[in-house]
Amino acid sequence: MMESPFWMIVPGNAALSALVWFVIAMPFLYAARKPVHELLHAVGVLAGGPLRSSSRWLLGAAHDMRERNRQVLLAHGREEAGQQIAREFERVSLLVTRDLEGYPALQRRLLDEITRVEEDYKKCGEVPPPPPDWIDAINAVANVKSGGNELVTRLLEEINRSIKDIHEKTLAEYRRAYEERHSILDGFMPFWRSLDKTLAQADRKMTSLTDRAAAIDAQMARFEQIVSKTERAEHALTVSALTQFFVATLVIVVAAGGALINFKLIALPMSEMVGAGDYLTASLRTSEVAALVIIFVEATMGLFLMETLRITHLFPKIHALSDPMRKRMLWIAFTLLLTLAGIEAALALMRDMLIADKQALMQSLAATAHAAAATDSWLARIPTIGQIVLGFILPFALAFVAIPLESFIASARTVGGAVLVMVMRLLAVSLRLAGSFVRQLARVLVTLYDILIVLPLLVERLVRDRRAPTPTPALSGFEAVERSS
């Protein structure tokens, strides 16, 4: 027969034994009610308090960090906008220097042309033939009554003939004058065209200047927004940083692919230079590391080249160099890059030769009599030429990775900061929820404790009701503890 555990008062009946124990323990539980309530409450506060404090601290830190990120972002944006405005002003200055420095000459030419046109215009003015002074006399003579006098008739006829002659002469003179004016007007055309062309040229230059001015206005508006630290400016800068970050990452990944191809091209022939039997680790040959080092040196030279060309701004010291020194550095970086590109092209050729040699050896080892005859056509040379060209071009292509790298570094600060703030906020919310949960759990446990000792509590209430004629609303256990404390 199995022996019952020591706590079983009623052997074989665990439930009844537990009930008996519970009944026995109930008075003690009732007696310990207040300290237990206080203990649970204290545990709730003890566990929940630090969680809530941590949450508050994290929120504060996230707020500070966000503020700092904002300041950095705006400062960066201000600097960038300032640079862009400066660049726009440079362009305007160039435009003014290039186009408008000839403006006085242009103006003089215009005035000359206008003066000439005016003079010609004046020459074109229609001068009516002066009315003959002798018309009145003719009228008077014409009104003379001939009265059949032959002398008078002849005189009149003579006057008529003379007038007709004079009329024809005057008409001819008039027509000649008109022809002259027409020829002058014909001569106008080139001047008009020249004038029109000069004006169009001036208009085009002025339009270009207006466009630049509009761009400067837009940049200035952006700059003002950044300076006044508006939400819109911050949002625009954040979005811009995010876009830059993803685009730069994409380009860097593509460049990494190029670097990998580059590595494959020179890793094998490097073993011809540094030996194939040396290892740095169990699977990493020294020749592979040497190839990597060459690629990194090329990338570094590319970086310096971009810096000295003032395309990127990663090294302030390079930018602080004097122009002659900077140009000297540019040529040094370019020469080294060119040399390395040449070495890579040679290594690519060597790689092809090594592979061909290895293939020939393997064929001879396989001892196949019907080995494929080596083709010496130009088609067989295409991969070799391709490798050489690729080996030469890739270092220069890699040099341009400096541009996305700069964007990546600049935008990573903003993106990383924003992500960190988000993580801290999430953590803060989680801690706050956990703190609230612990406090609520303490309350639930207090209530559960009261439910356990509901019988003594009912008795207590009955006794109280008898003693006090005016009943007061009963308080829950937790509230009673809070009130008493």
Partner: protein, 215 residues
């Protein structure tokens, strides 16, 4: 996995220290030229060709014949430690192949088979190379036959060496009683393992040589 190695490699580079362990391989091949097994020598050429195609610059290879007494440098038919430069290594491999071809054309049979002497000679050669991975290939039927004056019944040392028996053909007596063949191989395994060898393997099909140099 490779990326992790790459990372480790860069870390090692940054620390400025190279891996001191040797990663090169050294292979010593014993070719049995005694009795009827001498007919199989042409197959040995195939194995040597496979080894020449597989071994890398910096690795070592030696081929020695098993005769009545094989503990002698004179029994090494061809040996080479390939240059670190791949182009030079390829040239050495071509010369090695020609030496092997000359051997297969002009070899002569021997009356006895001293495999143990060859193993001792091979072990010494491999230790001298300082290679990280050492392998002895035994191209033989593994039937050792010694004359009365030759002494080979003493413990030998093959520490850290992989021993691979290749093309272990069955003798006429093995066909009568296969336990003789199995017992012979088991005896060799015990002897090789007792000598401290890292591994003992038997590869009878030459097409299964792929894993012979893994290690």
């Amino acid at each position: 996995m490779k990326r992790r190695h790459f990372g480790f490699g860069l870390a090692a580079l940054a620390a400025g220290c190279a891996d001191p362990r040797s990663h090169s391989q050294a292979v010593y091949m014993l070719v049995d030229t005694s009795g009827t097994y001498a007919e199989e020598v042409n197959k040995a050429q195939l194995i040597v060709n496979y080894l020449l195609g597989t071994l890398q610059p910096g690795d070592s290879l030696a081929v020695a014949r098993v005769k009545s007494r094989s503990f002698s440098e004179k029994d090494i038919v061809a040996k080479a430690t390939f240059d670190n430069r791949p182009s030079q290594a390829n040239a050495q491999k071509r010369v090695f192949r020609e030496q092997m071809e000359a051997f297969t054309r002009s070899h002569s049979g021997s009356a006895y088979t001293d495999i143990t002497g060859g193993l001792i000679q091979g072990s010494m050669f491999l230790t001298e190379t300082g290679a990280g991975h050492k392998t002895i290939l035994i191209f033989s039927d593994m039937q050792e036959e010694l004359d009365k004056v030759t002494v080979r019944d003493f413990p030998i040392t093959l520490k850290d060496i992989r021993v691979v028996a290749v093309n272990v053909v069955k003798l006429r007596t093995d066909n009568v009683d296969p336990r003789r063949y199995l017992g012979r191989l088991e005896a060799w395994q015990k002897r090789v393992e007792a000598a401290g060898a890292r591994e003992w393997r038997v590869i009878n099909d030459i097409e299964h040589l792929d894993g012979v140099l893994k290690g």
